[in-house]
Symmetry: C2
């Protein structure tokens, strides 16, 4: 069960206080809340129908507050309670949800204004969702072990649940996810016969893609049981199970020696406190000419993920800064070859996901309930907005052992129109 | 006067001890020194003609030690005294200098073995060459205010004294330096009419290139008097002085607001302790849609620059790690868009410089003396080797204000064969 969202509104108490009346102190509370949020250009419609605005300009969108209890909760911790109240239907949106979120995110750039209550909630979540071996398993189970049929409704057919790469902005999600897999494989210059270890393999699409198109052998790790079962079945069906092994285990238990370390979309779940250990795992796993690739959601400055998203959607998730990420590489002397920020590609990917999600909203409501639909709508819309306004980043990092000189001379080969794996191998041989 | 290298060998004392004899304890000292250096495959020929080797394989090259004093100094601090002894002719090399240095660098990957004396020397140099406002001026004067005629003998005609970019490995140095300037301008997507501030502009080639080819206005800062005088003369001669202003001042004194912050090859001289201040300077200089570019020598792991190079060639220089560099950007919320490591391009650049330097060695000896030639040969060969074996990196970083969305959709435009500034502008307009 995703979320475990509870309403927690005591309507009896509300009625006793005079449910329809709005007291002056409540309006002052609302004004203070709006001011702390940077006075976004919104209209707030109170339970008596009265509208409070931050300016005379027409509002980008309107938020309807159903009752006094919702306002009080929002005032104590807007980050968590906005999401919960939207999920429960105690907050309703009139207008475009993404436009509303964009106005709020842009207003809230200065997070120093987060209140005491919100700070305590945020710390408590960190502690509760700590990514120990057991904690990680619980956190990953919460999100990824929802039945695969749900994800099939709005992800691409190969179920890639990470940022796609759009060579052209008008590409379809399907094409962009295939392009992403090729882009990633070419960034790390996979060569036939190489041994690859993948940390966090989702439903197995990339592992199978690497084996099929680049002739490598892959051991892919994941602690989501549901995903591993799915990936193994796919490997058998596609005749690739002799070249791809799916292991249901934590990245910390990776054993063996490999030419390439790959990880796409796992680092967000590792926790910065475990980065040195991850570096140690990569170090002991790679041959002396080894190289690797990390793809992760990130931040410009250290800041916890939105508390509601952590509480209801992604327990334990923590988008690191590049400085955090260097704690993986620096102590082990790895050489960073290339970093690319693809945040606008993730915004586009999430827009595609949200669009497909909305098309399947009725079916999803039948699978779960309306509250689930609202929670996931908010999570997808909020994520798209965060990447678009630049509060979240998407970093791709290519790294290698320090003395590896068999490197492409420039990055031009990544953008050749007639590029094929064969062409690329010739190209690398020509310069090395 | 570059270097101020002194011999410091007391030959009288040596004679009294029996100059030609080699005592067993001296051979033990040499063996210990070789072991601390990872036993590189070299032959060490002592002052009595005897050769000491680390293995039975033929040595990559031979080092001739002229006297016992040199051995003793090498044993106390090989990093500083090898350079000084080579400069003075008390150490002679038989065979290829670059091959010898490569063997030594590869052997010395584990720097934990640096002795107490060397550590103290290294710290003393750091303190002496501290990059305060006055210290930076003294440090930069030491290296860059050598007469320009000297640099003209071995740099490209436009006097670019930073890593070139070779679209093809066989490109000439001249072409590669022009390609570098275009590459850098295109990475940061200069647009006609924009205001650019350049921190550390050398002899002015990039500032003039930006104004000429990209239609921008440039204020370029440098604390090397000799370089600024040269750059100003060039601006007048080329009719660009109305669009390029050369300011003889420290980057810390940059004032005004700009669209783009550029810095190619200055960060190595800033000192990591000043990175937060540099971030503050960039922050206050950039408009809300501003972006920037940094190009710097770097390290995989924190480590001081070779002590001899700091003492004799580049006082105050300190190649930062990417983690260090993030101290510029993270506190100010800048978004890292792109990082590229071009260390093999710097190795190639240095090989070209060394080749041209050797062709002019006689003339340089007439300008200065033979000791100067040897010191610079060692510095150029040592740098080429460090980039080739991967103990030094060359990072190019593109960054921007966090909410800037007018970004190229992919990096492909950088590698289009028919790319021109106009073509690129159309391309950016098409996607934004």
């Amino acid at each position: 069960m995703i979320g475990g969202v509870s309403t927690g509104v005591n309507t009896q108490t509300m009625t006793m206080l005079g449910a329809n009346r709005v007291y002056p102190i409540e309006k002052r509370l609302l004004r203070a809340l709006l001011s702390r949020s940077g006075n976004p250009p919104l209209g707030i419609v109170l339970w008596n129908g009265e509208e409070v605005r931050t300016s005379h300009d027409p509002p980008v969108a309107r938020i309807h507050l159903e009752d006094r209890g919702t306002l009080l909760k929002l005032a104590s911790d807007p980050e968590i309670h906005f999401g919960d109240a939207y999920t429960d239907g105690r907050v309703k949106i009139e207008g475009d949800l993404c436009a509303l979120l964009e106005a709020v995110y842009c207003g809230m750039q200065d997070r120093a204004k987060r209140g005491v209550c919100a700070m305590l909630n945020s710390r408590w979540l960190d502690r509760r969702h700590n990514n120990t071996l057991r904690g990680s398993r619980r956190n990953i189970h919460h999100h990824y072990d929802i039945h695969t049929d749900f994800y099939k409704l709005w992800l691409d057919p190969q179920l890639l649940y990470t940022c796609a790469y759009y060579p052209s902005p008008s590409d379809s999600l399907e094409d962009a996810q295939v392009a992403k897999m090729h882009y990633v494989c070419r960034k790390v210059r996979l060569q036939p016969g190489e041994q690859v270890v993948e940390a966090g393999c989702g439903w197995g699409a990339l592992a199978l893609h690497m084996a099929r198109h680049y002739g490598v052998r892959v051991r892919a790790f994941n602690i989501s049981h549901e995903q591993i079962v799915y990936a193994r079945r796919r490997a058998v069906e596609e005749g690739l199970s002799h070249r791809v092994e799916f292991v249901e285990d934590d990245y910390r238990n990776i054993a063996g020696k490999y030419d390439v370390f790959m990880s796409v979309g796992m680092l967000e779940h590792v926790g910065t406190g475990n980065f040195r250990e991850l570096g140690k795992v990569i170090d002991r796993s790679l041959h002396s000419t080894g190289r690797g690739f990390l793809h992760s959601i990130g931040r410009n400055t250290p800041e916890a993920l939105n508390a509601w998203v952590r509480k209801r959607v992604f327990p334990g998730a923590q988008p690191p800064t590049l400085r955090h990420m260097m704690e993986i590489f620096e102590p082990r002397g790895f050489s960073i070859l290339d970093v690319e920020n693809l945040r606008l590609h993730y915004a586009r990917t999430l827009e595609h996901w949200l669009e497909r999600f909305e098309k399947s909203a009725r079916e999803i409501a039948r699978m779960f309930d309306e509250r689930f639909v609202r929670a996931w709508r908010l999570y997808l819309a909020g994520s798209a907005t965060a990447f678009r306004v630049g509060t979240l980043q998407l970093f791709q990092i290519v790294f290698a052992r320090p003395a590896l000189n068999r490197l492409p001379w420039t990055r031009g080969y990544l953008y050749e129109h007639d590029a094929t794996p064969q062409r690329e191998q010739e190209w690398i041989r020509a310069i090395s």
